[in-house]
């Protein structure tokens, strides 16, 4: 029954009117009238709003933590214990998630999903406390979900809707007025790169488009914290690049913190500044990626065209031991920092041994190495 026309006002001035009665932006005129004339939210909402504000502040004071640094941590838990039946998934789990774009890594069964579910208030912890954006996760689950966006891993959509209806509906469920939800839905879908396809039924979408609308429905109500569960699942390389660009755009400088949970470590490296590695319900490594990547001692990685034993021997003579080798790439470690600059050394050895060197760089541990080392303890 008619298409949604994108609101042209996002480039110009926006008028956020409170509870505007004249908006009939829903697709069915009857339902549109319904929602603006008879709207229990309008009737009940105005009265309740004043009442709620006092209770809200009272409750916040009630669950105040006494932690002075609540603002710096978007989420934290303190001695959190979660059990499913008689199986303990998280035991005395303590974690502080800083602002910014954080990667959450861990093998399957480490408790990442359980942690997210507990922080969102779906699973009651057996003991301990958790807080997200200053709200206690055991008692204020609804308020938390108001402020966060969740992009689930599995395929999910609401049947019988096109993308605009779906995202606008998600916004309305989060409490946005219908007209704002529609306007914002268009804005977010445009940013996600969904063009004319947004007017088609969601069931006809490809995997890439479905991932995008999942991201859109998580962002439509302007959350302060975003949980992304495997955002690049099932995407082809181009789709992966585009999704990672979107995640990078939203996580830097927009007043939004992002927690990305993924198994694909290069994706985490591209988007996140810090990582948290979990294993069997406890944190085994945490910190900025650049800091974690530093190796002890001095190491250099060299790429060859073809493997050359003469190069290896010549370098050994100058103090460089081969640490590992994969294909035509090898890593060499020096016991003491070499006296001459490394570049000169490598080139000299290359000229001497006649090997063709196609690249060298100071070696850093890859995120995969960090992860494997952390979980192998």
């Amino acid at each position: 029954m008619g298409r949604y026309a994108p609101s042209p006002s996002y480039l110009g001035r926006d008028s956020y009117g409170y509870f505007e009665r004249s908006e009939t932006a829903t697709c069915c005129p009857i339902a549109g009238r319904l929602s603006s004339w008879f709207d229990p939210g309008l009737i009940l909402g105005t009265k309740l709003e004043t009442k709620k504000s006092t209770t809200a502040t009272f409750r916040q004071r009630e669950v105040s933590w006494g932690i002075t640094t609540t603002m710096a941590h978007v989420a934290s838990s303190s001695e959190l214990t979660v059990r499913y039946g008689n199986k303990t998934v998280l035991d005395q789990f303590t974690l502080d998630v800083p602002e910014g774009c954080i990667g959450l890594l861990g093998p399957n069964g480490a408790g990442k999903t359980t942690l997210i579910k507990t922080l969102l208030g779906f699973v009651k912890p057996a003991s301990g406390r958790g807080q997200v954006l200053g709200l206690d996760c055991a008692t204020q689950g609804l308020a938390i979900r108001q402020k966060i966006g969740l992009m689930p891993e599995q395929d999910c959509h609401i049947p019988g809707m096109n993308a605009v209806t779906f995202v606008a509906y998600a916004g309305e469920m989060a409490g946005m007025p219908p007209a704002q939800a529609l306007r914002r839905g268009h804005e977010v879908l445009e940013w996600c790169g969904l063009g004319e396809a947004r007017y088609r039924n969601v069931e006809t979408y490809s995997t890439g488009m479905k991932q995008r609308i999942k991201l859109a429905q998580a962002l439509v109500h302007g959350p302060k914290l975003l949980f992304l569960d495997e955002p690049t699942n099932g995407l082809d390389p181009q789709g992966r690049d585009e999704m990672l660009a979107l995640v990078k755009d939203v996580s830097h400088g927009k007043g939004l913190s992002v927690i990305v949970s993924s198994h694909l470590l290069p994706d985490i490296e591209k988007t996140c500044d810090e990582v948290i590695v979990m294993r069997r319900g406890e944190v085994v490594a945490q910190g900025p990626i650049s800091q974690l990547k530093q190796t002890g001692g001095f190491q250099v990685e060299v790429d060859f065209r073809t493997w050359s034993e003469k190069f290896v021997a010549a370098l050994r003579a100058r103090g460089g031991q081969e640490v590992w080798r994969q294909g035509t790439t090898a890593r060499f470690a020096f016991d003491t920092e070499p006296t001459e600059p490394v570049g000169g050394l490598i080139f000299a050895v290359a000229r001497e041994s006649g090997a063709q060197v196609r690249g060298f760089r100071p070696a850093v541990r890859s995120l995969e190495d960090i992860f494997l080392e952390a979980v192998a303890q």
């Binding site: 861990g106 093998p107 399957n108 069964g109 490809s206 995997t207 890439g208 699942n233 099932g234 995407l235 082809d236 390389p237 181009q238 789709g239 992966r240 198994h263 694909l264 470590l265 290069p266 790429d303 065209r305 294909g327 600059p341 490394v342 570049g343 000169g344 080139f347 000299a348 290359a350 000229r351 063709q356 060197v357 196609r358 690249g359 060298f360 760089r361 100071p362 995969e368 992860f371 494997l372 979980v375």
Partner: protein, 307 residues
């Protein structure tokens, strides 16, 4: 083995008017090959043709020397791990693998032995007696691979096998696949995750819009992409001086000076790399690092698909 395990000759397949594969010809010897391509390029059509679910509209293909379509003799020697995720949720993992193994004709103690062996190979021995309904994605993936290798096939086709596995699991699966390749099997892996494919194997097949776009080793393909000259980045303390020295060489197409580094374009990478040490040492430049940012699979794929 003189005969390639999988061989396609001018195979085309269309669905009504929509083209799935267009005039594809290649031979796959034993070993590990990766099949790459964007979604909708024809990868699933190709895999269905190879596993005998579809017949080619024109052209001929042979797997282990025979036509695979509805051919039990080929199916006996072919293992397929599909991408779909549908199981009988009430069965346990072991029962599921056993059910599919029994369909190959194994019975009794041999079936039990094979089931245990294949489950052990995928690392699910401790968890295979739980119902499939409660499995995580990675566990389902492993069960799928277990059923594909139970009958010890010569040709194994895997569609997105690393999907849902954590890095540890991925390493184990890659090791397993490389072991199969070393044992002489022909393993065809279809994947989207390019950096993983780089670690698995060097041999790739690229399908794009129904056509076979490239075949061979990554480096070989890269050296053949003429319109994209090789980019090499050198981080140096005197970029301008280095650039002017480099520009003098015939192998160098262009040299761009950026903040603290020089970006060189060359269409003769061999010649360039051979003369670089001499140039650097004579000029007294101090190079902190240098590499070629587009010499990896991701860049190669990008160039192939965009051009």
């Amino acid at each position: 083995m003189s005969q390639p395990a999988i061989s396609l000759h001018r195979v085309s397949r269309w669905y009504g008017q929509i083209i799935g594969l267009n005039d594809v010809t290649f031979d796959l010897p034993p070993g590990l090959t990766a099949l790459l391509g964007p979604n909708g390029a024809g990868k699933s059509t190709l895999l269905k043709l190879i596993t005998g679910q579809l017949k080619p509209t024109t052209g001929s293909l042979s797997v282990l020397g025979q036509d695979p379509f509805a051919n039990p003799r080929v199916a006996r020697n072919l293992g397929y791990c599909p991408e779909i995720d549908n199981f009988y949720e009430e069965l346990t993992g072991r029962q599921f693998v056993r059910l599919l193994g029994a369909m190959h004709g194994f019975v009794g103690s041999e079936l039990t032995r094979r089931v245990s062996d294949s489950i052990e190979q995928v690392g699910m021995t401790d968890r295979c007696d739980r119902k499939l309904g409660g499995y995580s994605k990675g566990m389902r993936q492993r069960i799928k691979v277990a059923q594909a290798i139970l009958h010890d096939p010569q040709v194994i086709v895997l569609d997105e096998p690393l999907n849902g596995l954590d890095p540890v699991g991925r390493h184990e699966m890659v090791d397993t696949m490389q072991r199969w390749a070393e044992a002489g099997k022909c393993v065809l892996v279809s994947s989207h995750v390019l950096y993983e494919v780089e670690q698995i194997t060097d041999r790739i097949l690229v399908i794009y819009k129904g056509r076979l776009l490239a075949q061979g080793s990554v480096e070989g393909i890269r050296s053949q992409i003429d319109q994209h000259p090789h980019h090499i980045r050198l981080v140096c303390d005197q970029p301008r001086k280095l650039a002017s020295a480099l520009i003098g060489r015939t192998s160098v197409l262009s040299a761009r000076v950026l903040e603290g580094l020089v970006e060189v374009e060359t269409s003769q990478p061999d010649a360039f790399y051979n003369e670089l040490p001499a140039l650097v040492l004579e000029g007294g430049f101090s190079i902190e690092r240098f590499d070629s940012p587009d010499n990896n699979l991701e860049a190669v794929f990008h160039y192939l698909v965009k051009s």
